[in-house]
Each structure stands twice: as C-alpha cells, then as structure tokens.
Symmetry: C2
Subunit: 455 residues, 2 copies
C-alpha cells in the first residue's frame, strides 16, 4: 500500500498509528496454527466516526482493511493476506447503554465478554455466549461465535439485536431498532453477524441479556463409552430438559484435565452438565438427567450446586485448550469444529475416532454435544511438515463426512481463510449468492480480502 | 404482461394455469383493508422445480412475480401492484422430512401451521409460532411472522433453520445445512426470512421443533388499569419466569370477547398467561406470576391446567379478530402492529390510548406484551373516507411514536406495501443497503415489486 496513505493516517491519528514490526506482527496473528501475515500499518480507533474516516481514506486509495479485536480467532481471520490497514478496535471498550428493564445492552465492539459480565453482575444479569477465549463482543459477532451455553441460550445469531456497522465506503448504518421483534425489512443484523468483517466493520453491538438464574447446578457423569454418552445427550435434549450446558470429553481429554487442573475425575468418556432455574427447578432437571444417564450406563452421576465446586469444574472445562497443550510441551493444537444434526453424532464420532486411531500425535475430544458440535484437538508440532499434512488430511476427512451427514465445516469458529476450501462443498450454488452480496456491498473487495468466500 | 407468456404457461402447466377473474381477484387480496390488485394469471405450482421453471419464463419476458400461500397477510403482500404472474404454492403441502431426534422438520412452503401441528402431535412435538390465521409456513417465513408464543420460543427468525429458495433468475439454492449451529458464511436463511418474496421465492422450509411440554397451565388476571398490567408484565419477564405466553386485552376488548366467545371475564384490562414445563415447574411459574400480579393490583389471578378450560381461553384469544368485528356489523378491522422495548410500553400505550379517545369508531387493544408488541384494532367502515383518513392519521401517529421510542413499525405483520412509507424513518441509511441487496439479487426488479422497500 502507498506510503502516502500511511503518512495521511499518521497526520490524522498521530500516535495511534503504528508501523512497528512487533505491533504489525501481533495484529496478523490469531490463536491457531495458521501462518501469520502482518498488515502494513495498525490504527487504534476510538469511535465509530474514526473507523468511518479510516475506511474512507482506505477506500480512496484502494487499501485492504482488516478489523482486529482481541486476536483470539482460530481460522486466520485477522491475517492480512494482502497487507493493508488493520483497524484495532480494542480501545473501543465502553458500555454504551444498559437497559435493565429491557434486558439489553449496547457496547462498543472492543468490550470483551468477561468485561461485560463483570459489569452486569451487580445488576443480576449476564450475557451467556462464552467462547473459550476472552474475545471481544465485536469479534464474537463477526464470527457468529457461541460456546457451552448455546444449547440453552443460542449463539451470537440469536443474541445480537442490532449493530452499528461502517460500510466499505465509510457510511455508517444501524441495522435495526432495539425492539424484541420486527418484521420491518431485510435482516441486516443477521447478514453482518458471521460475515467476518468482509461486508463492513461492526463498531457497536446491542445484545440480549439474561437474568442470572436463582440456582445453577452442575453435574459430572462418566460413561462406559462415547456412544453411550451421546445416547444420553440425545435423550436428554429430546425429553425437553432445558440443560444450560451439556459437554463431552473423551478419556484422553479427561486425563489431560485431571493432570492440568488437579481433578480426580475417572479417566472415562464424561459428560459435564449445568442446569439453570429455581432451586426446585434445577434440582428437578438434574434428577431427570440423572435417571436418563443411568439408563445408558452412567451410574456415577454426581451433582452439586456449591458455587466453588461448580466454578472449579467449569474453569477446568474452559482450560481444556491449555490442559491438552500440556500433554506435549511445545506443541500447538489444531482444533476442528464440525457440527452435525445430533442424530448423526454417534456415527460421526465413531468414524472420526476410527480415523484418529493411527494418528502420530495425541488427539483429544471435547464438544458442545447438545448442539451436535465437537472439537478434536490435533496436538501437533507445527514445524513438522509430516504432522501438519496428517492433520490436514484428518480434518478434511472429518469435514467431508460432516457435510455428507447434513452438517457444517464450522459450528462456531468461522471460516477465516482456514475453511474456505470447504465452502463450495457445503453450500453449492448458495456460494454464488454470497459472492453477489459481497460484490454489491464491497465492490472494490477491500474488506478483509481473502476470507470467507472462495475465488 | 404478454399474451405469449400466458399461452406458454398454459401449454406447459395446462389446467393449473388460470386467468379467471374470480381466481385472479382472490389471489390479489389479503385479510386487511388494502385495495386489491389482481395478477394477470395464476399458476398453481407443485414442486420447487416447477417454481424455478415459471420464474425462468417470467424472467425471460420481464413479467412481475408474486408468491401466494394462504392469502392471510395483513399489509397487502400479495397484491399484484404491477400485475404479472401469481405463483400459488398452496398445493405444495407435503411434509418432506421429519427428524424426531433432531427436533426438526422440512416442509413444502404451502403446508399450514395447523396442518403441521396436527401431523406432529402423535410424535409429542409441536411448532410454536402461531399467528392468528392458519397461514402457510412459507408465508410465515416470508413475513417473519410470530404470535403469542414468541416471548418464550422466538419468531420465524429464530425457528427457521434452512430454506430452499428459487432466485430471481430461476436458480435453486439451499441456504444452509440442518446443523443447529454454523459459522460457515453469510446467513442467507435470515436474509430470505422476512424478505416477503422480494429476493426470491421460498419453496421449502426446515423448522426447529419443540417437545410438547409435560404440563401447560393457563391463567387470567384482571388489573385496575392497563398501566398496572404492563408493570406486572415487565416484572414477570425481568424476574426470569419463562412464560410461554403473556397477552394483554383492554376492557373494551374483553367485553367483545365475552360477547363473542360466551365468557364471563370481568370487563377490565386483563392479562392472559400460559406456563409450560413439568407439572411442578409450571405450577411454580404460575405461583410466582401470581405473587407479582398481586403486587400490581391483580388480586384475582385464576389459573387452571385443565385442558378444556385452557383450550376455551386460547380459542377466545385467537378469535379476537372476529369478536371485535362483531362489535360493529359490516365493519373491517385495521390492525396496527408496533413493537417497542418493554420499558417504553407503558408510555407508548398511555399516549396512544389518549390519541384514540376521540376516535369516531371503536378501538380495541390486544398485545403480545412480553415482547413489547401490541395491536390496536380500528373497527372501521372502509367505504367511509373520513374514517379511513382518521385511521390513517392515528396509525401514523402511533408508528412515529414507536420509532421515536426505539421501536419498529411492524412487530410481526411485515411491510407489504402498507408500511413502506415508514421504512426510511425507521431505518435511515440502512434502507440503501437493503436496496443495494435487492438490486444485486433481483436486477430486473420482478420479485414482488412495490413491496418492502421505498423507491
């Protein structure tokens, strides 16, 4: 990109513009195995108006634009494949407006989920969407993120009410009112949620909130096999028990968690549960889940509503990434992310675990199985070309099987540039509709180029 | 449109093509007060493939295309403003695939909601979205419909998993897989839901289903004023009671319901409730709602889980349209449809009821108040120009106030051509984004022209 544009940005934004190698490098990098490509320059924006100005300057010069939040993405979303300008939104971290009666809040894109929940706690409210990382709300909206609570509370798709977006030509729009329901025109909110910054930059997000339940009860139950655990999950969901969380780990992963988080779980395939409601309601849910577990060989169903024990359990769950890395010092984790209809989950896991049996590196399993979404972790040495090729091959097989079973290549991580190669197989002709929309809203192709859509 | 196209359609589709005046007339008409404009020809399609063929023939000739389901829309959606071809989808009424374990079903667009629920009952499942009319699932998706259950189960936005859509050039796409969650690309499902046939024609719909709750308990409670009832609603929602339904009626409307449905409700502002759960869970919810009611002057909170009594109550609720028409024989009802954040609901209703006080016709009030959505019914003589002008004026005032309070001109009825005049005020610059998308996906402007978007 042109030196003139960098100079103009420095004139306008002063010390908030950086071309330092370390800063650029950090802004081209997510948390996964993808090769990094640094942007030419990073600008730290502090308002929607500033983002609009930067975008106008880039549009005039034809410079690529990549938005950056916390840098926790997993498919190379922030990698500046064509260089250009990275707009860092992390300083846009204000809570703009909390409406307690309406159970909604508007935040700037750079607010993180933990920051938001710390702010909400005193009001008796919480925001349920919880990817592992402490991602920004803007990044979570852009990737249509979810996490362990989605089975009960939905993903970013269901929990974003409205957005402020800067378009590719710098215009600023509000996608929707704050009303709970509306039939007034096209659903622009949903169009920008999950578009990964390729259609515009999300600068503010209005979210639906939940009251903190009167009671939260957790449970752990080991099963004789992964298949038995999946059968229990299906029956639990189908019976209509409104589980807040229902998560699987296989024996290898439980062992890693025990070692890392100092727990004494049995090293068997295990379900973690959480139930939200009144004290009586949560207990009734746990009771019914326990009965179902027993019918599938899960005899040792242990539940607790003690907050300390509950916190210890879920902290261990959220630290799985680090627990599995500790299995092989110096390694990285390649996290897969398929999601299938839950009736296909047992078949899916049976086949993929067969594929993984001969792998030359450890493979873990965790999953938001109430939604049919799970992650294998390939614990690899990224500098070992043979291991990378093997991981690539296993992941391809996994994704192709998921698509053949009516599922998706990514349940919650997004496409970035890591999953583009599967998009045609998953969507067929619908990809052409996405490309038509992309061309219409970003005719110069400057917004996060090389992401989401194949050429 | 050209006689050649009509002839070609007759050659291809034979007796399933009609140019009879009565058939055409019926296909240009919804259930509201809007002037009717008949299409030039009606074709009864029986498959997605046929819809694609018809669309290709129309595209080649530049003929406008309007999709038609049950004809129950309320904002002139099916009115053939520019003539052209009406594609009647009502014969596409097959249940394509039920997946009990996955709690989803795929249906052709012409299946109605009552037909679907009759089909699902034996499986212990139901589809919760319930507009008053027995609309088609395709029409409900196209207008982003909702109803009394939305406060708990969401609208069509949340309950449509995937669509088959015929595009403006006849191509057929599937918008998404059947997976519960996906972050794989743009949310085309949400784009076509609520687009009212202006971007493409929905021919198949995959829906999320719910298990029929173990227990459903209803309640009725009269309040000293509309304001007191609204305060009770806000507290009920905020406390996190997962009400399945919470509906308001004012005293005038209760009187009309008593007369029409032979009930003996007190003619006061009244809330209808419904609670879903286990027997103990539903009772606990009702108990807590009752306590809240008492705190707002709702002392006479009566609840029942007897199925016959419950059915009688909700049948009366669903027949409100006819009950209010019976207040003034020969009249029509102009149903308003604003939706505001619930913190603004009391103010909104206070002001609008002040406006309505001097009206020269009866005005009713019913509402899905848990979502902030309510309907005034102006019970008018549509042949009386002065009454029409007065209704127009009252509705305009109502909508402008709702938008000023952060709400929307339509919570669930859609835009059609009745609400286009409010779209710029509600959306500002975002309207231009909608128009850009419309031009990109329907460059000839043939799909349901004159609907949703202002010129």
């Amino acid at each position: 990109m042109s030196a003139a544009l960098i100079a103009a940005l420095k004139t306008r934004f002063d010390a908030r513009v950086s071309t330092a190698a370390a800063v650029r490098e950090q802004h081209g990098r997510g948390e996964a195995y993808h090769p990094t490509k640094a942007p030419d320059v990073v600008v730290f924006a502090t308002s929607t108006q500033e983002v609009s100005e930067i975008v106008r300057m880039c549009a005039a010069e034809g410079a690529p634009i990549v938005a950056f939040g916390a840098g926790t993405s997993l498919e190379g979303h922030v990698c500046a494949l064509q260089g250009g300008v990275c707009i860092d939104l992390s300083r846009m971290n204000e809570i703009v407006e909390l409406n307690v009666e309406d159970l909604d809040v508007t935040v700037q894109a750079g607010v993180t989920r933990k920051q938001l929940n710390a702010y909400l706690r005193d009001q008796g409210l919480f925001f349920p969407v919880d990817p592992g990382a402490d991602a920004t709300i803007g990044g979570m909206a852009a990737t249509r993120a979810s996490g362990t609570n989605a089975v009960r509370y939905g993903t970013m798709r269901e929990n974003v009410l409205s957005l402020t977006v800067v378009l590719a030509d710098g215009r600023i729009i509000r996608t929707r009112s704050r009303a709970r329901k509306s039939s007034a025109g096209y659903d622009l909110t949903a169009l920008f949620v999950g578009a990964e910054g390729t259609l515009g930059i999300i600068t503010e997000v209005t979210l639906r909130l939940q009251g903190i339940p009167e009671n939260m009860t957790s449970a752990v139950c080991p099963y004789p096999s992964v298949e038995a655990a999946i059968e229990a999950v299906i029956e639990t969901i189908q019976t209509g028990i409104p589980v807040a969380r229902i998560e699987i780990m296989d024996a290898v992963t439980v062992a890693a968690v025990n070692a890392y988080s100092k727990l004494n779980l049995e090293a068997r395939p295990t379900l973690f549960y959480e139930f939200h409601g009144s004290a009586a309601g949560a207990a009734e849910q746990a009771q019914r889940a326990q009965e179902i577990a027993a019918g599938h060989g899960g005899e040792d169903f242990r539940w607790a509503s003690d907050p300390a024990e509950r916190a210890r359990l879920w902290e261990a769950r959220h630290n799985i990434h680090y627990a599995t890395l500790a299995m092989r010092p110096g390694a990285k984790s390649w996290g897969t992310d398929v999601c299938v209809p839950i009736s296909k989950l047992a078949e899916m896991l049976r086949e993929s675990r067969k594929d993984n049996e001969g792998a030359s590196f450890p493979v873990t399993l965790v999953g938001h199985v109430g939604d049919g979404n799970f992650h294998h972790g390939y614990i690899i040495d990224p500098d070992n070309a043979a291991e990378m090729a093997e991981a690539e091959r296993l992941n391809k097989r996994l994704v192709e099987r998921a698509i053949a079973l009516g599922g998706t290549c990514t349940g919650e991580h997004g496409v970035g540039y890591g999953k583009i190669k599967f998009m045609r197989a998953e969507h067929g002709e619908a990809i052409e509709v996405m490309k038509t929309i992309k061309r219409a809203l970003d005719p110069q192709g400057l917004m996060n180029p090389g992401k989401v859509l194949p050429d």
